[in-house]
Symmetry: C2
Subunit: 135 residues, 2 copies
């Protein structure tokens, strides 16, 4: 599926390519809330194989999956496969990553909880060895 | 479209019928976050013609429309028609209502901002005269 096909199948705008050292692969971001919001909501679209680095949020984050197939993993636990309609409630300071399956685009809303009380801390890359174990 | 057809077309679970004097018509609610969350997210599904009463939120609310056709109106302003992909950022203490068009189901996520700093205040019904002006 091309990115133009994808854009016809998802609900919220895809936005612009995000240039970030915290993602391994190409990712698009559209912020749905005004700058400085108390409740920042981003629409995040991962190309197949793209995932973010391990990271944690001082006050937690909520993911609402709207399309495609991907994964969420907490440090020390098995990865969970995600599809449209899945909700992930990430607790404060829990080390985790999320991203697309190898063969699928993946789209989720990401809601940062109480950002005024602390930001995300970015850590190391998910190893290819670990990622490649996933289907 | 029946409610069972609708449930196949929307992303997040429809949940249960909400019994509330603050809605005029039948509405379903599924909370997507745990009780006591700092960032409560509900999936709200309105039957055709259903809308909520005028109300306001102490710290604001964000609506993310995922399906159907409906309206949002701020007190003293024209109603805005809403479709999937629309986002409404409702500022603190702004009196407003939202709900379905007469001939369409309407589904949105509703995110309450900083609920620990104050709750919603529910006010009077949207008059039939005002609602019936809408298409």
């Amino acid at each position: 599926m091309s990115i133009s096909d994808l854009s016809k199948r998802v609900i919220f705008p895809i936005g612009d390519k995000l240039i970030s050292k915290n993602f391994n692969g190409t990712v698009w971001l559209k912020m749905l809330t005004p700058s400085g919001s108390d409740c920042p909501i981003g629409n995040v679209t991962f190309e197949p194989g793209c995932r973010n680095n391990w990271h944690k949020h001082a006050r937690g984050q909520i993911l609402l999956v709207t399309g495609g197939r991907g994964y969420f993993q907490e440090w020390g636990k098995p990865a969970q496969e995600l599809h449209a309609g899945d909700v992930v409630n990430i607790l404060p300071d829990v080390k985790h990553w999320h991203g697309a399956a190898k063969d699928s685009w993946f789209v989720h809303l990401a809601i940062e909880v109480n950002p005024e009380k602390g930001q995300a801390t970015w850590l190391e890359r998910v190893s290819d060895q670990d990622y490649n174990k996933l289907k």
